[in-house]
Symmetry: C2
Subunit: 246 residues, 2 copies
Amino acid sequence: MAVAKIRLYVEHPLGEGQSVPLTREQAHYLFGVMRLRAGDAVLLFNGQAGEWRADVVEAGKRGGLLRADEQTRPQDMPPDLWLVFAPIKKARTDFIVEKAAEMGARRICPVQTDFTNAERIRRDRLQAHAIEAAEQCGGSFVPEVAELQRLDAFLSAWPGERQLMFCDEALAGGSSALSGGLASAPTGAPWAILIGPEGGFSEAERTRLAGMPQAHAVRLGPRILRADTAAVAAMTMWQQALGDWR
Amino acid sequence: MAVAKIRLYVEHPLGEGQSVPLTREQAHYLFGVMRLRAGDAVLLFNGQAGEWRADVVEAGKRGGLLRADEQTRPQDMPPDLWLVFAPIKKARTDFIVEKAAEMGARRICPVQTDFTNAERIRRDRLQAHAIEAAEQCGGSFVPEVAELQRLDAFLSAWPGERQLMFCDEALAGGSSALSGGLASAPTGAPWAILIGPEGGFSEAERTRLAGMPQAHAVRLGPRILRADTAAVAAMTMWQQALGDWR
């Protein structure tokens, strides 16, 4: 049997003997770029049914057909962690979405804050980044990228039991140690990490966050971190303390 | 007195009343881009003398003069941590250097590994990224970017007392927890973090690293991380356990 090296996300049911037709883009990637041929194998996942080995049955320029063969990994399910962040620049926004998928966020929520100018996002493009990161990182789960929302509306609809790790650059500097907010947090609860925008939160936002019983302020060291760095650092801290890096 | 918002790295002594001439690039940035005028204030650091408030004495298109006024922060010195990594793609290499400066590495060491193709780096360009990150993150220290070296030569010259946190994607997957290598590590020792290249270490490299008494293998969660993600995650873990995030 051919060894499968390529991992591909498909929006199609997966199971033993299941036929999986390819889109034009997928066929171009597999047969044009990666030079696969009939009889070669790939690994497939759809975000729900684990990872499956599949053989190439038909390889064409504009399409093709795979047949799933055997399950190679059960479905992964990362911890119930949302990453909430304020998109600013395109490259760093792309980066944050990629990193959220690699680090095991279950949902990615872009928000508009008082000091954020982003009026819109390309949700489909960000979702494609999340898919590519999932293909790369060996997982079988793809976090969903939510529509852009106003932070105040998002907090108004906050699910009561979800805990919130709140990283604010105003907490950087000074000499205080980590707040220890995570150590005292309930285990097994759903969580979200909120990364402040590079311009910081407004006073109104800061007051509102500080008043939420679910909020746990965490300080990310003595230096001011860019939002993309803060996202990876905060997810590392959370995964180590409460998630699947324990 | 004018409020200083801009932070600028200068290669010049700093002290009370010290005159600081500007390069053409610095003058362009301060007066052309940021529209500063005589009498405005900036914050200066040179990596050794802390942060100083300075006034603009002369503002020209091709140069200018600042005068340091008072020290606003003492010199920072991050923990004695080296970040050692194998550069591959330009954008991700730039990113790793930026993140190393933000996360508080003291020295940045690019290495060639058996599976790394990078034949050369632009050391001056990478150093400029480290300076820009230091200007941004509010610190007064700039890590030095070392010349590219072969990993085997680098390990042959390894300073005996320096501990090595060794992150290998071959350790990803499976179900084992974090190795706990950091918990048992000597405190107060100099350290380095070595990030595996995206193609992984060769067997020879892995064997050599495993045989070093200073090496502490650490697993970065169940997903495979890109090298840039791994660099930020590993520095977060180290800073929390042994560095200045404690």
